[in-house]
């Protein structure tokens, strides 16, 4: 009981950090910090999705960038057609372009779900390192397909000029968009929280711990895992749609394996199988990326051999990210949430 209270406290603290960054940004008039916080939220949503498969289901997918990108392209394609006043396609049914997020999101969810159903149905026949590799292979296939598909910009990608619309929100307000992203994050986390505590979650976590026992109880681990994989991809796809609205641009780079790796790093940093892990991990990741990679370089002196070395070193801030990740994997399997709230479950 005390363990649960401590985790709740940690969760409130993590959410509080995000909120105080935005409050500070508003008071100090630093609009860029709001964009950065929105980036945190969107990567957190992507990681909430992966965490359902990886954390709760033990399915180490190295291909979630595919779903992130599919969600992104769904948003980008619909928005670009809305800009040109053309239809996406006319048969078998008419699909018009739109700039309404509330229409784009369901399309992104369905597209990610269909892709995940096909990829998962094949990949989940393998396990362990083969599963990691086959999900990577499928994501790379989709990545190369997007590059060689000239209709929507190919490798150069596709720009959208105005942020898509959400009822009651000002498309030019970064704060409004941040709040929309927070709403999507809250819904995603609520869904994962309910699922993992319901019958389905019991079966999913049981299948991670002991698939033989699940079979003997009359439940097919494959069906449970496939369902979780599809749900997981849908949440990551939603994050992709939001990401396109954040950077007003979509390109195959969203599907590259770097992105799969970054989403996975966020899940592991934050705490595998912990509800608020993805948010904690995304906070740490995005701010490491920003401060070590950009801000710190501007603040530190440039003169002298020592500072020259430091400046050069920060050019490769990912080394520090790598060391942090290594430390988490070796010494703190519960990630940030595990360190703060205790009770690292130490799997995955």
């Amino acid at each position: 009981m005390t363990m649960a209270t401590r985790e709740n406290g940690t969760n409130v603290a993590v959410a509080g950090i995000l909120a105080s960054i935005v409050v500070y940004a508003l008071l100090a008039d630093e609009p860029f910090l709001i964009t950065l916080a929105t980036r945190v939220v969107i990567f957190a949503i992507a990681a909430v999705g992966l965490n359902l498969a990886l954390g709760y289901g033990g399915l180490v997918s190295f291909g979630h960038a595919a779903f992130f990108g599919i969600g992104g392209f769904a948003a980008g394609i619909l928005a670009s057609h809305a800009q040109d006043y053309t239809a996406v396609f006319e048969s078998p049914f008419l699909l018009e372009g739109t700039n309404q997020m509330l229409i784009i999101w369901p399309v992104a969810l369905v597209a990610a779900a269909l892709a995940a159903l096909a990829i998962g149905a094949l990949s989940l026949r393998t396990s362990g390192v083969y599963f990691i590799m086959i999900t990577l292979a499928f994501a790379q296939m989709i990545y190369y397909f997007a590059i060689s598909w000239p209709r929507y910009g190919g490798e150069d990608g596709l720009s959208i000029y105005t942020r898509n619309a959400f009822p009651g929100a000002d498309p030019y307000s970064n704060l409004h968009f941040f709040l929309i992203a927070v709403l999507a994050l809250a819904i995603s986390m609520l869904v994962v929280w309910r699922i993992t505590n319901a019958r389905f979650g019991l079966a999913l976590q049981a299948a991670r711990q002991n698939p033989g026992r699940v079979s003997a109880a009359g439940i097919k681990p494959y069906n449970v895992r496939l369902t979780a994989f599809v749900l997981s991809a849908m949440i990551t796809g939603l994050a992709g749609a939001l990401y396109v609205d954040l950077i007003k641009f979509v390109s195959p780079a969203m599907m590259s394996w770097h992105i799969s790796g970054e989403i996975m790093i966020i899940v592991i940093l934050g705490g595998v199988g912990r509800l608020f892990g993805p948010l904690a991990g995304a906070l740490m990741f995005v701010f490491m990326e920003h401060w070590l990679g950009t801000s710190l370089k501007e603040v530190l002196p440039r003169e002298g051999a020592f500072w020259d070395f430091i400046q050069g070193f920060l050019e490769h801030w990912r080394i520090l990210l790598g060391l942090t990740l290594l430390a988490v994997v070796l010494f703190a399997k519960g990630g940030i949430i595990g360190i703060l709230a205790g009770g690292g479950r130490g799997h995955g």
Binding site: R199, N210, R213, A216
Partner: protein, 250 residues
């Protein structure tokens, strides 16, 4: 005695040149405990996996409650009411004892795609699960993570999970393995009462338990059934004595 609940006819399984089970026929009649014994390496584990559906047989057929289940997977056989326990305790270590049993209740109910209602407090899961824990005497450990249960308690948990499947037959793979004398004696008494609920196919090394419980005994050696009969017949069977029992039965 009527129709057999479980009727295994001539099943075989080879791994390369090794015949792990060779034309094995066995039946399980209502209300009986049928013990399967055999020295190490006789192919008992292979046979259990074939019956449970984890290993496909090369030939032969298995029928259960009158239906051919030869082509069904382990999940479908479990849902049909063939409940197995494992030789090495197979539990969900991070979950509480209660949740372990809830999983089996859930499989039996065939309703696993619940995404909303909290499983831990769902009376349709928790109530039958607690009842089964109570039956095996583990109710005071319901909230303890299964990883923290003692060896003997894990054996009890296995039985509770089997009970939760509302089985029409039990397939118990060395349920006494690693239990102290007191524990095995208690479990023997428990299994004795179980046969009125559903017949048991009992794979067991503990000869005291086998001789006390079994209505029939079959002896498996090198993948073949070399003898099958009542306790007295098996005790006096010369072939069995030389192959397996040695001085122990004398």
């Amino acid at each position: 005695m009527g129709e057999p609940v479980l009727d295994i006819r001539g099943i075989s399984k080879s791994f390369g040149a090794l015949k792990a089970s060779d034309d094995v026929s066995l039946s399980l009649m209502p209300g009986e405990i049928h013990a399967l014994i055999g020295p190490n390496g006789a192919g008992k584990s292979t046979l259990v996996k074939q019956i449970a559906g984890e290993l496909a047989s090369d030939s032969g057929s298995i029928s259960f409650c009158g239906a051919d289940i030869s082509s069904l997977g382990p999940e479908a056989r479990a849902r049909a009411g063939l409940a197995r326990s494992f030789q090495v305790s197979s539990i969900l270590p991070e979950m509480s004892a209660l949740e372990n049993v809830e999983l089996a209740v859930m499989g039996q109910s065939k309703r696993i795609f619940g995404f909303f209602r909290r499983s831990l407090t769902d009376a349709r899961l928790a109530e039958p699960a607690s009842r089964h824990l109570l039956r095996v005497g583990l109710e005071h450990r319901a909230d303890v993570p299964a990883a923290e249960l003692s060896h003997g308690e894990r054996r009890q948990l296995e039985i509770a999970m089997a009970l939760a499947l509302k089985p029409k037959a039990f397939l118990l793979d060395e349920p006494m393995a690693g239990m102290g004398p007191e524990g095995s004696q208690r479990l023997t008494g428990f299994l004795d009462g179980l046969r009125s609920e559903a017949p048991l196919l009992l794979i067991e090394h503990d000869m005291d338990a086998v001789f006390r419980l079994a209505d029939r005994i079959s002896v498996l050696v090198y993948g073949r059934i070399i003898a099958s009969g009542s306790v007295a017949e098996i005790r006096s069977n010369a072939e069995v004595r030389s192959a397996y029992l040695g001085d122990e039965a004398a």
